[in-house]
Symmetry: C2
Subunit: 366 residues, 2 copies
């Protein structure tokens, strides 16, 4: 159900009743949007694609103690991050956002008022602030009570010109490999957050650069790139460059060579290296996830701007034919070539869950 669930659910607390919560969501979501014919208030929402458009769909769980921790992340950050993940997936398809759906299972305490606002109101502040920036209507969802840990599921619908979605499978040998923004910053900020959550407790708005706390989905870059018509294959770097590049290689049936000197390493990653939190900033850049930058390929002769929508775009290597050897190779500054292994972000997440980022593989120099 859509509004039906949003209208008739169970839980009430000392603070917000669920009905109040739903009313609050409906009131905030009431704006009319192009493409959304019917939002919250019926069995389903109705999306009206423009002629010649396809609809793309992505879903993302955000679970307490897996994707966020209440003692580390502000509610606004959790709301922002929930939505940013799906928006980044839309960007990776070259799609414009059309509608968001938010399903929330929460323990009662998150609805109780705390110094004025409940946790969930602050969560919605973060979610809706990001939605407004990219003109995405909240079109529906579901609510339920959870026993202990909050669970959010966010669904994003986007639209893209028929046949023009960027797939993971479109890369060809010879293509240049491009990456937006800087890498390793989100992983490094997460390490800083783990060490001193109190330093981040005041971060309630997406101001300044906070690649982990308030990641910036690259929708503006994607829009301009789509207009240029240069992209052959794309993916977002949610699982880390090495893992997501491996996906691109796998789905396209090609191999990759990356020049480490071309990678734009985030200053936070350098600071993490200096502080001894990570074996090297480069490892954070290669393997750290949740940066939500775009990784894409374009033909060798394509003229890809070095800056798009204010974001740096670097050519970090090239796609090559598959051979017997390693699927991905890394060329360092001295020209030495080594195998680039896909070291997934999931390692991080497991450690985040356990609160063991300190002793993780990044420090052990893997």
């Amino acid at each position: 159900m859509n509004a039906s669930a949003m209208a008739e659910s169970t839980f009430k607390t000392q603070g917000l009743s669920e009905r109040t919560l739903i009313e609050m969501i409906r009131a905030r979501a009431r704006r009319r949007f192009d493409g959304l014919r019917l939002g919250i208030g019926d069995d389903c929402a109705i999306i009206r694609p423009r002629q010649g458009e396809e609809i793309v769909v992505t879903t993302d769980f955000s679970l307490e103690d897996v994707h966020f921790r209440r003692d580390w992340h502000t509610p606004e950050s959790v709301g922002h991050r929930c939505l940013a993940r799906g928006l980044s997936d839309l960007a990776a398809m070259g799609a414009r956002p059309v509608a968001a759906f938010l399903s929330m299972a929460m323990p009662q305490e998150l609805l109780a008022a705390r110094r004025g606002k409940s946790w969930v109101e602050r969560f919605l502040d973060g979610f809706i602030a990001l939605a407004k920036r990219f003109d995405v209507p909240l079109a529906g969802g579901d609510t339920a009570r959870a026993a202990e840990r909050a669970c959010f599921d966010v669904v994003l619908l986007g639209a893209v010109k028929r046949g023009h979605a960027w797939l993971r499978s479109g890369a060809k040998a010879g293509d240049g490999i491009y990456v937006t923004g800087t890498l390793g910053g989100a992983a490094a900020e997460l390490m800083a957050l783990e060490r001193s959550p109190q330093r981040f407790a005041g971060l309630t708005k997406a101001e300044g650069e906070h690649p982990h706390v308030f990641p910036e989905p690259r929708l503006d870059v994607a829009k301009k790139l789509a207009a240029l018509g240069l992209v052959r294959a794309a993916i977002d770097i949610s699982d880390g460059l090495s893992t997501d590049l491996a996906h691109l290689c796998e789905e396209s049936g090609v191999a990759a060579e990356v020049d480490s000197s071309a990678i734009s390493v985030d200053v936070r990653a350098m600071l993490a290296e200096r502080a001894g939190w990570a074996a090297s900033a480069m490892k954070l850049a290669l393997h750290g996830g949740e940066n939500y930058e775009l990784l894409f390929t374009a033909a060798a002769e394509a003229r890809v701007p070095q800056r798009i929508a204010g974001v740096e775009v670097r050519r970090i290597g090239r796609m090559v034919k598959r051979s017997r050897g390693a699927r991905m190779k890394l060329r360092d500054e001295d020209g030495r070539v080594t195998e680039l292994e896909a070291c997934g972000w999931e390692h991080f997440r497991e450690q985040l869950r356990r609160g063991q980022l300190n002793s993780g593989w990044l420090r052990s120099g893997r």
Copy 2:
């Protein structure tokens, strides 16, 4: 993310590894379907609507100990029910199903093999059996580990001719009110399930009539009704006739008069009354939820068949103008008119959660 999440998640167990699970899902989901251009395997799935179609979207949480209990429901029943809820919402819009998305957060034990099959494999058996019956491809989702209780979120996309979706707001004074199937059966079966879960432990397939354990979404009825072009407003009876009729009245700005003698009371509800589980079978029919029948209105002069796609269709009353008095009235067999109150299904659910159906409001004769 879509396949990305399905491909790179964390958890492994003594039984199924998550990768094996994902591979199993991908293998089962691989069939090509009209309207689904790209399923599991990229940042997003791609839906290609036919020309002149709109896309409808519904999301439904299914949470352990809120919507199901592992000691009551077989895994196949849980999988079936997860999907049936959304399919019923599509039916209530007059839409045909296009794609399903399944997000699963599960504790490890659900992936461990038990006498051959893990819980989650049996869950998928139930989910996919229903999906196949209605030709719905599983197009994506997400996976994560939950601490204790399983959490599923199912998203359904459907397609409907532009401007032809049945809304809750389309009813007019004078319309006849129609209901498919029998009422009260699901609530009564839930009561039986609570009392003797062992009697239901063998129910692993959607065979025979089991309105609670294996509810039947009315997609076939909806399809034929849509072809007839008679429906003015519709909703599914997921929250009980009284509650869902109240929604229809509210959204359409009308009132309703229901003839209790016209309601087709399920035999299970009669048995529940006889057993003393419920004050009356009629109360179960009026207020019991999760029956997933369709409630719709058609113009007074419309000729609605009494049987559609093998399902009984009853005219149970009429929409009338709003006046100062009660929004909904119930006329009993002796012609006495009383107010019909919306007594939501959520009462049930709260009691299910607490395992207190015995002492609930249905018995107390409310």
